[in-house]
Symmetry: C2
Subunit: 125 residues, 2 copies
């Protein structure tokens, strides 16, 4: 077996982390922190559309962050590994300390632009 090159590992790790880097996927993962859920339960909990949730779930499963189990016509999703929970918890913990910096981040701010004023109020208030 050929060793996985640094470059390949890098791309793969980045791909893995993409699972956490989108608000929709993150809300799905956080929903699953409470335990296994059917797709429609995830749809309800997150408020996202069914096709959108389904698409994100496929991605998360392909990337190994969640696993599935079929039950009749239902499909039950769950976090696949305790380290996924750990990363979610670490990011929450880190968020609490660096929130100010993140809010002021001028990159990737399209959606959050509207939130900025309120956000600053919230963190500084």
């Amino acid at each position: 077996m050929v060793a996985i090159t640094d470059k390949t590992a890098l791309f793969t790790k980045a791909k893995l982390m993409r699972g956490f880097s989108d608000p929709s996927r993150l809300s799905i993962l956080e929903t699953l922190l409470d335990g296994p859920r059917k797709v429609n339960e995830i749809v309800m909990a997150t408020g996202l559309s069914q096709p959108n949730v389904s698409s994100h779930l496929s991605c998360l499963r392909d990337c190994g962050l969640v696993s599935t189990q079929s039950q009749g016509k239902f499909v039950i999703y769950q976090l696949s590994d305790p380290r996924v929970n750990e990363i979610l918890n670490l990011s929450s913990s880190l968020l609490a300390d660096v929130a100010r910096g993140v809010y002021e981040c001028t990159r990737y701010e399209p959606e959050t632009k509207l939130l900025t004023d309120l956000s600053k109020e919230q963190i500084n208030g």
Copy 2:
């Protein structure tokens, strides 16, 4: 102080995690796992262009993942918090176990398409 809404926290956390979700940023962060580095050292270590590194560093700093310290005309970057190291290590650890799934992920595969054949050989071989 108004509580930070779930939705706002979600967006912010996702933004934070974006720092880890790109191969270039990840290579910068992993370079910094070895300790503080000047920008040009990061450029050398990663093989990325100087403006590209500088741009990613700005993002990482704005998002709170790295911090800086000036030394004459040099700027020294370092990981800002032990939890950043932890997340990097967890993702490496997780990668080792779910690599197969990630490689076969059909989403976000533009750059890795060319690597696929080699990758499968590497993981399965």
